[in-house]
């Protein structure tokens, strides 16, 4: 079973050379720490920056330079800043190669719910609905089950949707799972030491198992 760093490490393997990537808050942010040698990536922050660098040293903190999670950041050489319309324009014109974000629920046809729990204070969707509506490739980083022990991989989402038919791949503490074009969760890899049975038990939606399922290499 993977911890959060393990999920981030596994997702880092999905990041291809020479790509533009948008990272959501939480586990996705950790992915930047595990990129492989020789993988050139440019991170976009949807509040208006391409070329997001690491957090600044204390003396270099600049209140005018934050990421979409409102954290202080730095910009790398080659960075560019722009307004919010251009930022979402580049998202909707599919210039971002990969979007990695968290979710509360994913359905077997690739629907995602990650912004609202009815009855609880709703903070808003921020840029998530834009990102999922137009991303070329979406990887969801999340726990396989919620705090109540219920599966987050469902036949149909119970929570209000963020987007429909958009998730391509899910990486959890238990497994790597793809969404089949015709629907269904296709098991791709097991986390180290995790059995197919464990994954079956934690997946409420239709789990498709074709042949031998390898254990992840990290």
């Amino acid at each position: 079973m993977l911890d959060k760093e393990g999920i981030a490490k596994r997702i880092a393997k999905e990041v291809k050379n020479n790509t533009y990537v948008n990272l959501g808050i939480g586990i996705p942010t950790l992915v930047a720490n595990y990129l492989h040698e020789g993988i050139n990536v440019c991170f976009q922050s949807e509040n208006g920056l391409l070329g997001v660098g690491h957090f600044p040293k204390e003396y270099a903190v600049d209140p005018d330079m934050i990421n979409a999670g409102k954290q202080t950041i730095t910009a790398l050489p080659g960075a560019s800043s722009f307004d919010s319309a251009m930022s979402f324009g580049m998202i909707h014109s599919k210039k971002i190669d990969l979007t990695i974000l968290g979710a509360m629920e994913v359905s077997e046809n690739g629907d995602i719910a990650n912004w609202k729990i009815p009855g609880k204070m709703v903070k808003g969707m921020g840029g998530a609905m834009d990102l999922v509506a137009s991303a070329k490739h979406i990887i969801v980083a999340m726990q396989h089950v919620n705090k109540a022990g219920e599966s987050k991989l469902l036949a149909k989402c119970d929570l209000p949707l963020t987007g429909k038919n958009c998730v391509k791949r899910i990486v959890t503490e238990l497994a790597v799972i793809d969404i089949a074009p015709e629907g269904g969760f296709v098991l791709i890899e097991r986390a180290p030491g995790v059995s197919i049975e464990q994954i079956k038990n934690a997946t409420a939606g239709k789990l498709l198992i074709h042949g031998d399922i390898p254990e992840m290499a990290l």
Partner: protein, 247 residues
């Protein structure tokens, strides 16, 4: 205020540009009446018009509709207006980090319309470009689409979203000149130039005000034509919401 020197021989007949300077924030917001719709620039607490928010607070204006990506924190930004119950309605994409906001929302005192961040940006842009509405794929298949017209182009579904119609746009820039030209810094740009284009009346506060001719015409983010009033703000706090550093 910096003064320019330009080659008078080169220009050889100066047609004066249009002077937008007002004395201070109080003068800039003087005609904002109760019940107005305001666009306020900024993302989180980054790039917010601190001086104008304070001036509106002091002026007592109430019953406002605020279009702004966020609603500030309890004791800063739009949160200051919320504390004094000056806001009737917020149109935002994300409104966390604010307890008083949450209280007013849950008690029904405050109306909130949550829209996708890109839709917020595009609806400002549409107003600035004279487009009555735009199409966006954000929100298709979600509750955001409820009651909205949708349409399929090339096999993909889009929602029709209308241009905003705000009485005032209030923005914060890094530098500006008395003709209203604005330059923003880093991610403090965000919604500011879009809202500047979209307001019926646009008020800009800047950290540094200069004379026309100092700013390079090619580096101006917001041409002065969009700005009706400008002043040099003071005492910027520029509060940081999440100070995150590395060693």
């Amino acid at each position: 205020m910096k003064r320019g020197n330009f080659d008078i021989d080169f220009i050889h007949q100066i047609i004066s540009m249009i002077y937008k300077l007002v004395t201070d924030a109080a003068a800039a917001v003087a005609d904002i009446t109760d019940g107005s719709t305001l666009m306020l620039g900024g993302f989180g607490l980054c790039g917010i018009p601190e001086n104008c928010i304070q001036a509106i607070l002091e002026k007592g204006t109430t019953n406002l509709t605020c279009i702004s990506n966020n609603a500030g924190v309890d004791d800063f930004g739009i949160g200051l207006l919320l504390q004094q119950k000056r806001v009737k309605k917020m149109i935002s994409s994300y409104v966390g980090e604010n307890e008083e906001f949450e209280r007013q929302l849950l008690s029904g005192e405050l109306e909130v319309e949550l829209i996708p961040q890109g839709t917020l940006a595009f609806r400002c842009m549409a107003a600035g470009y004279g487009m009555p509405a735009i199409y966006t794929p954000a929100g298709v298949g979600t509750e955001v689409a409820t009651g909205k017209e949708s349409r399929i182009f090339d096999g993909k579904e889009y929602l029709l979203e209308t241009a905003f119609n705000a009485d005032f746009a209030i923005v914060k820039a890094w530098k500006g000149d008395t003709d209203g030209n604005l330059i923003f810094k880093s991610t403090a740009r965000n919604f500011n130039p879009l809202m500047a284009m979209a307001g019926k009346i646009t008020i800009a506060e800047v950290e540094e005000l200069v004379e026309p001719g100092i700013l390079d015409p090619d580096q101006i983010h917001t041409p002065g034509i969009y700005v009706h009033r400008i002043f040099e703000g003071k005492n910027y706090e520029k509060r940081i919401e999440k100070r995150t550093t590395s060693k």
